[in-house]
Amino acid sequence: MMPEIVIDKEKCTTPFECKKCLQICPQAVFMVLPTGMHTFRENEPEEYKLLAVFRDKCVFCNDCVEVCPVGAIQVKIILGGGE
């Protein structure tokens, strides 16, 4: 059983600076990647994206949902077997 982790990119704009979900997750499910690289300058805070890469390791603790200051993360439990 794997949760669906939805990240609202409209709300989560500066994941590298915020880093709350990345650091609280007991299973280290998330990763933050630069969306590109430049010569002779660092990325702007907006030039990162948050990904729930290892979501098969998620234990539904909901810590990330609670810690997110902008409410950008949703963890949905999908129960198998239909209705």
């Binding site: 059983m1 650091q23 280290a28 990763m31 933050v32 690289m37 430049h38 990904l51 979501r55």
Partner: protein, 285 residues
């Protein structure tokens, strides 16, 4: 597939392990094929992103298609081996590497930055970049965020000891192959599960982007006092304390040969033995 490391040692080790041959750190080895440089661009940023996004898309299929997931992971593992994997090395070998490879540069851990968004300040940089590529670090400040500090072999040894004491596993980090087909050695990492991507890939998904080391740990039962210090240090779940005998027990098939247990043992009861001296472990990489 099990022969990959033996082949590597045979071809590039010249009688020793591949990472202990000074030839593998000299200038021609640092030339990458031209197409590859163009494909990945600055600081190989594209490579990272492609790898992680690829990994994510495979994990996404785990529920609906477990069989497909399994074979995709096996495929990825084979690709990683093809591209030249990293390898776990014990502290002694890491110290030998810093003696033969130059320059040595303390940098931020790239994995930890991606998994925990940690920015390591001057006193806690945990990665050691090696080779001529480090002279170009200023070009891509994003890659070396927090700066890069050039250090001497002596300082590098102290640095490795420091992180070893903290419980980090040393690994040889590679970035694909050079034009001569040898692995492109990028540095010596100090790794920790789960924030190290290579250890995570290997432990959780069986992807051989990180190979086991050239050694395995063996307990001397006469010396072992059963204190259990080593158990806490193993990142690969290879050590357990046997209840009835009150001794540490190491599963040599699971052992990666990092030697953390050996370094921490107060009785010096653990030794590292060459993997190849055990016929059954020769194919265990």
């Amino acid at each position: 597939m099990g022969d990959i490391m033996l082949e590597l040692d045979e071809r590039y080790g010249e009688g020793s392990f591949w990472y202990l041959n000074p030839k593998n750190y000299c200038r021609p080895m640092y030339k990458k094929p031209k197409e590859e440089r163009e494909e990945y661009g600055i600081g190989m940023a594209g490579l990272e992103e492609t790898a992680i996004e690829g990994m994510k898309s495979i994990i996404d299929t785990k529920d609906e298609d477990p069989e497909g997931f399994k074979s995709e992971m096996e495929g990825l593992s084979a690709t990683m081996i093809e591209m030249a994997p990293g390898q776990v090395i014990p502290l002694e070998d890491a110290k030998k590497v810093v003696d033969i490879a130059q320059p040595l540069v303390k940098i931020d851990c790239i994995c930890r930055r991606m998994t925990r968004a940690t920015l390591e300040e001057e006193d806690c940089r945990s990665c050691l970049g090696i080779g001529l590529g480090m002279f170009r670090w200023e070009m891509v400040p994003e890659r070396y965020k927090g700066g890069a500090e050039f250090i001497s072999p002596e300082e590098a040894k102290k640095f490795l000891e420091f992180w070893n004491k903290k419980g980090m596993v040393h690994t040889i980090m590679t970035f694909g192959k050079t034009i001569e087909g040898a692995p492109y050695i990028g540095g010596v990492c100090n790794c920790d599960y789960p924030d190290c991507i290579d250890i995570r890939f290997r432990n959780d998904y069986g992807i051989k982007s990180l190979m086991k080391g050239e050694y395995v740990a063996k307990v001397d039962y006469d010396k072992c006092s059963g204190c259990g210090t080593c158990v806490k240090r193993c990142q690969f779940g290879a050590i357990k304390k046997e209840v009835t005998t009150n001794k540490a027990n190491i599963d040599m098939f699971s052992c990666f040969g990092c030697g953390l247990c050996k370094e921490t043992c107060p009785e010096s009861a653990i030794e590292l033995v060459e993997r190849n001296s055990f016929p059954a472990l020769r194919d265990e990489w």
